[in-house]
């Protein structure tokens, strides 16, 4: 069995009436690696996850998890994978511990194992103190951690995570990333969808970018970033009357630049850290006060713009609480 992909999709299609949500998506995820599907809302990420986790039947194409067909061997697939869906799938009226035990009971683990696993997972996800509190009282980050813990009760070798950090504050995101890295270190194969390039960048060995149900690019994070243009240098000047002076200095260091006088912002293709340091020093010498200076990495929007020629427009059902940096990325 070793060597066969842990997760594999061949030409997956899902239609809802006239609407094609997923339009011939294929991918293959080697065991023990992290695979990320990156795309805006409505790109078909959740539908793909639902098909791969047996919740939704593909219109055509095949999906395999641990070598098993997601339609024909749905029950066996469910034995071997865990899912942390986008909408919270823990029970608000149960305590954290009760939630985990419920999942253990449903798996048919023997009772002492259920108790032990629930306790272990609560501890591992720093929920042991909140274990006997009703989930309603949990914060967003705690819920996500519990949701993830619930997916791990039967230690599945393959784990699907649908936008695991959407709506989380930056600290909770970083914490969750740490947990996911631990899982991978222990040999779990991860399939994760995200709207955030930096998330895919942090975690994934391989990324596919999807838009309108199709794969529009795939590769390692580095490859994708190379293909989607370079980082840019951004200088934010504090005072409006110093923008011209700052512009002169930046122009002498880089070839082309763009000035937005209203935002007091100068943008230029990045020439590396050395150029950044030089420009910063010269601006400082000239006594020009800055709000900010730095290299801005390509955002998801840049990737999209580059790959598709159109912006990654947000659909109306965008989550209410999008972290600040994500909002920037899709703006």
């Amino acid at each position: 069995m070793s060597g066969a992909p842990a997760i594999e999709a061949v030409d997956l299609v899902k239609r809802f009436g006239d609407f094609t949500a997923v339009d011939g998506v294929s991918f293959s995820v080697p065991e023990g690696t992290v695979f990320s599907m990156l795309g805006p809302n409505g790109a078909g990420k959740t539908t793909t996850v639902r098909m791969m986790t047996t919740l939704s039947r593909p219109t055509s194409g095949t999906g395999r998890v641990a070598g098993l067909d997601v339609v024909r061997d749905a029950d066996a697939v469910r034995q071997r994978m865990g899912l942390t869906a986008q909408s919270a799938t823990v029970d608000e009226l149960l305590t954290g511990r009760e939630n985990l035990r419920l999942v253990g009971d449903l798996y048919g683990l023997d009772r002492p194992t259920v108790r032990r696993v629930a306790d272990e997972l609560l501890e591992r996800f720093s929920l042991d103190e909140a274990g006997d509190k009703v989930v309603k009282e949990y914060s967003g980050g705690m819920r996500r951690r519990l949701d993830l813990a619930a997916s791990l009760v039967a230690t599945p070798p393959v784990l699907f995570l649908d936008e695991p950090t959407t709506g989380l504050d930056p600290r909770s995101r970083v914490e969750l990333w740490g947990v996911l890295r631990d899982l991978v270190r222990d040999g779990t194969t991860l399939f994760l969808t995200t709207q955030y390039l930096d998330e895919a960048d942090q975690l994934a060995d391989r990324i596919v970018v999807v838009d309108h149900g199709r794969v529009i690019a795939d590769g390692t994070p580095l490859e994708l970033k190379d293909r989607s243009g370079r980082a840019s240098l951004v200088v934010a000047v504090s005072r409006g009357d110093e923008v011209r002076a700052a512009e002169e200095i930046v122009r002498s260091e880089v070839g082309e630049l763009h000035v937005d006088p209203d935002a007091r912002r100068i943008t230029a293709p990045a020439e590396g850290v050395a150029a950044l340091t030089r420009i910063a020093a010269r601006l400082d010498e000239a006594g020009i006060e800055l709000d900010d200076i730095g290299l801005q990495r390509p955002s998801l929007d840049d990737v999209f713009l580059h790959l598709t020629g159109h912006r990654a427009e947000e659909t109306a059902d965008a989550p209410a609480a999008v972290p600040a940096e994500a909002e920037e990325a899709v703006r």
Binding site: M1, R50, T54, L83, S87, L106, Y107
Partner: protein
């Protein structure tokens, strides 16, 4: 790197054997925990029917009853039947809430029987309704209701209630799966099931109704159940009208036929609606 074999081994050492009875029990326990955490969920089978008893016994009772007959005793089986009919509400709202929250997705991503969620919902709803029936019985004893025909006939009456409740579950699964929100479930069911329980002999005698209304009321399955309870428990102080429709002449048999018949017709529809809803 760990091999697939080792992973699958890990799965087999921790994942036990899926056991449908245990799955249903675990889910029933979960549903009952909800009631424990939100006792106000029980108002529909406690405060509401008690309110009906008081309202009808003391407000409308005077104008409905026959002088010399205890209306309260005659009324109580009617309200118990109504409470049991409302099991459909309880199932529909519970199921719809779960479907709306995505927790059904969690359950469906686990290796559990497809029907476990629905079976558990049905069982816990019957328990929920039975709590109501107990409350009603106790309330009844306070206002002067009683079972006068012995233990066996008493139990037969309760058995009939539960049987009827099981038929109502299918109505609940159908509505709960087909409608898109809890508000829709409440709206649609309140405007259908609620009046249907009143279009019966539960609260008022059929002999004073206009012909067309009497026809509906006497063929209403709820009337058969109510009449059966009255006869089994000896609460038929107001006698059945001369020449009442056939179902009311043989109320116990009719109730069984209704319960089985409704289940036979509604179960496939309900299962289809649930599968369609969860299968996108």
């Amino acid at each position: 790197m760990t091999t697939a074999q080792e992973h699958f081994h890990a799965v087999h050492t921790t994942a036990g054997r899926p056991n449908p009875a245990r799955q249903v029990w675990a889910l029933v326990r979960r549903n009952l925990t909800h009631i424990k955490r939100q006792p106000e969920m029980l108002t529909d089978v406690t405060i509401q029917p008690v309110m009906f008893v008081l309202l009808f016994a003391f407000v409308f009772g005077g104008s409905i009853a026959i002088p010399g007959v205890d209306y309260k005793e005659w009324l109580l089986p009617g309200i118990m039947a109504q409470t049991m009919t409302f099991s459909a509400f309880i199932v529909a709202i519970g199921l719809n809430t779960d479907l709306g929250k995505g927790i059904v997705d969690r359950f469906r991503s686990l290796p559990i029987g497809r029907s476990s969620v629905v079976v558990a919902r049905s069982v816990s709803s019957i328990i929920h309704s039975m709590i109501g029936i107990v409350v009603m019985s106790v309330t009844g004893l306070f206002v002067g209701w009683g079972i006068h025909e012995g233990v066996l006939r008493g139990l037969a009456g309760y058995g009939l209630l539960v049987l009827f409740g099981f038929a109502m579950i299918w109505v609940g699964i159908l509505f709960g799966s087909a409608l898109r929100s809890v508000e829709a479930v409440q709206g649609v069911m309140f405007t259908t099931v609620f009046p249907i329980t009143f279009l019966s002999n539960a609260f008022a005698r059929t002999d004073v109704m206009p012909d067309w209304l009497r026809f509906l009321a006497e063929w209403n399955p709820i009337s058969a159940l109510v009449q059966a309870l009255r006869e089994l428990w000896g609460n038929d102080g107001i006698p059945l009208r001369e020449g009442a429709a056939l179902p009311l002449q043989h109320p116990v048999l009719t109730t069984v036929i209704w319960a089985v018949g409704l289940s036979a017709v509604l179960a496939p529809l309900a299962v289809r609606a649930f599968v369609a809803r969860t299968n996108d």
